[in-house]
Symmetry: C2
Subunit: 314 residues, 2 copies
C-alpha cells in the first residue's frame, strides 16, 4: 500500500511517497508562499503530488493522501479552521485536494501528525496510549489514545504545551500565563543560557557562545552541563524539573504507556533520557506501580510526512 | 436488564439494584469495617447482594455486578491494587465475588465510576468525551473518552485533581506540591474561609460560622459571596480562577464536549455555573471556536452505585 504524506509549513511544503510501514520511498518539496492564496498553493501542491506519485507509477497506485497543517484542523470535516502562520482560515482542504487528485484525502494538525508517526512507525510503534513531546521553539506533540490522535470534541485538544503548570507565571504566546511550554520548550533552555551570560560573562556558556547571547542554543547549554559546568548544570536541573512536573500531571491524568521526546532538546540523547527517567520516577505518587516509560523520538524531521501518510492508515 | 451496583467506601458499602437506564430500583447498605479482612467483608457483601437481588426475583435475574473501589484498580485483572483507607492491597475482587455469586463482576475506581454514571445516566448522558469534576474534600472525578472511563495503561490515570497547576505550590497529600485539588476542592474554599475569620472576626463569614473556624463549610463561604460580602467575594473569585485554570489545561489537552461539576461546591448551583462559564470562556485561547460546555452533576451521592452498575453496560 502506498500513500502520499504532505507536511505543510509556513515556508515549505514537503510531499513524500510513503508505504504502509511508514517508510519514505521518495520525497520532494515546494515553497509555500501562502500569501498567493489557497487555490494557487493547492494547484502547485497537486502538481508536486502527481510528480511524486509518478515514482510509484501514477496517482492510481496511491491509496490516499494525508496532510499535516500548522493550525486548528477539523479532521471530520476535512477543513483547516485557521492557521496563523499561513494567514488562512476555513479552507476545505480535503475536498479541494480530492477535486484535484481524485484520491481520498485526510488531514490533521502537524504536531499531532508527527506524534502519530512515532506511534505508527517510530519510538512508540504499536503503543495504544502514548504522549509525544516535541521540545523545540514551542512544546508541541500529540496524545495518542486507542492508537489514534486525540484532538477532542472540537479539534482544539492535544495542545500539550498549553497545560498550565504555574498560575500567574510566564506569559505565553497563547495569552495565558504559566503554560508548560514557557518552561520546558528548547526556548526556555536558551533563555536561561542567555541569562547565564549576563550573570557570568566568563562562564562556560558565555565562552561557548563567544559572549553573544544571540548565539546561545540548546546544544551549548546541554554541552556545558554535560561537561560539568555548575551554572549550566543548575539550568539543566531546573529545566528537567519543569519538564518532569508536566509529565507527572500527564501520568496522573492519562497514564500513557510511553512518553516519546523529540525536538531540538532530544539531541541531548541519554543525558536527557537518564535525567528524565530518574526524576520522573522520583516525582510520581504511584511510583511503585508500573508507569510510563520514556524514549527518544526516532523519526526527526521526517515525522511530519510519515505521520500525514499514516492518517490514511489509522 | 438488571444489574447490581456496589459503592465501597471506608465506612459503608452501598448496594443498588439498577436498570440499564441507570435508575436505582432498590438499595441497601452495610458497615465496611475493613479491618476484619477482605474475606469477611466480601462474604457479608455477597449476602447483602443476594438480598438486594431478591427484589428482582433472585440472582439469576441479574446480568452482572459492578463495584466501585476507593483506590487504584486494575480493571483488566479485576483487582484492587491498593486502597489506603481500607488498608487493603492486591485483592482479586472480581474473581472473589464471582466465586460467591456466579455472575459477571466488573470493578473500577470509585471516583471514575461516579463520573461514568453522569456520562451514562446523568448530566453528560451520551457524551463520548466528558470530564467530571467532583469538588469535595478532594478534587476527584473522571475522564470519559469514547464513552468509557479512561484509566490509562497502568490504571493510575484519571486522577484529575493531581494535575500540577503551581510548581512548588501548596503541599498535597500525594506528596507533590501544587496539585489542582489543593486550590479547587471544597477544602480550599473552606481553608480560605477559616483564614478570613482570622483576618476579620466581625465579617460575614465569621458571623455565619459563629466565630468558630471549625464550623466553616463551603456553603457558608458561598452564601456570603452570594450576599455580596466583599471578603467572601474575593475568596470566591480566587477559587473560580484556580478552578478555571485547570479547566483551561484540560481543554487544551483533551477538549471535552462537556465538563460536569459535582461534589459539595456544586450545591452553589447557578452561582457557580455562571461564574465558571464566564471565566472559562474568557481564559480559553481558542475562545472563538466551539468549546466545552459546563453543567452541574445530576446524580449526587447515587452516582457511585449507578456508575458501578454501568460498568457492566459500558
Amino acid at each position: 500500500m502506498l500513500y502520499l504524506g504532505v507536511d505543510v509549513g509556513g515556508s515549505h511544503i514537503g510531499v513524500g511517497l510513503v508505504d504502509e510501514h511508514g517508510t519514505i520511498l521518495h520525497q520532494d518539496e515546494m515553497v509555500t508562499n501562502p500569501k498567493r492564496g489557497t487555490a494557487a498553493v493547492l494547484d502547485e501542491l497537486a502538481q508536486l503530488a502527481r510528480r511524486v506519485a509518478e515514482k510509484a507509477g501514477g496517482m492510481d497506485k496511491i491509496q490516499g493522501m494525508g496532510i499535516g497543517l500548522p493550525g486548528v484542523v477539523n479532521v471530520d470535516a476535512g477543513t483547516l479552521v485557521f492557521a496563523d502562520n499561513l494567514g488562512w482560515s476555513n479552507v476545505h482542504i480535503c475536498s479541494e485536494m480530492n477535486a484535484r487528485l481524485g484520491i481520498p484525502i485526510m488531514c490533521g494538525n502537524d504536531a499531532n501528525v508527527a506524534a502519530l508517526a512515532e506511534a505508527k512507525a517510530g519510538a512508540c510503534m504499536g503503543a495504544d496510549n502514548a504522549i509525544v513531546l516535541t521540545l523545540g521553539t514551542g512544546l508541541g506533540g500529540g496524545i495518542i489514545l486507542g492508537g489514534k490522535i486525540h484532538t477532542g470534541a472540537h479539534f482544539v485538544g492535544g495542545e500539550i504545551g498549553h497545560m498550565v503548570i504555574e498560575v500567574g507565571g510566564r506569559l505565553c504566546n497563547c495569552g495565558t500565563r504559566g503554560c508548560w511550554e514557557r518552561y520546558a520548550a528548547a526556548t526556555a533552555l536558551i533563555n536561561a543560557g542567555r541569562q547565564a551570560i549576563e550573570e557570568d560573562p566568563n562562564g562556560a556558556i558565555a565562552k561557548a557562545a563567544g559572549g553573544n547571547p544571540d548565539k546561545v542554543n540548546a546544544r551549548i547549554v546541554v554541552d556545558a552541563a554535560k561537561a560539568g559546568d555548575a551554572q549550566a548544570l543548575a539550568i539543566w536541573k531546573d529545566y528537567i524539573e519543569y519538564l518532569c512536573i508536566g509529565m507527572v500531571s500527564l501520568v496522573n491524568l492519562l497514564d500513557p504507556q510511553v512518553f516519546v521526546i523529540g525536538g531540538g532538546v532530544s539531541a541531548a540523547g541519554d543525558f536527557l533520557l537518564d535525567a528524565v527517567r530518574t526524576r520522573l520516577h522520583e516525582m510520581l505518587s504511584f511510583r511503585d506501580c508500573p508507569h510510563a516509560t520514556v524514549e527518544l523520538a526516532k523519526l526527526g524531521n521526517n515525522a511530519g510526512i510519515i505521520g500525514a501518510a499514516m492518517l490514511c492508515v489509522q
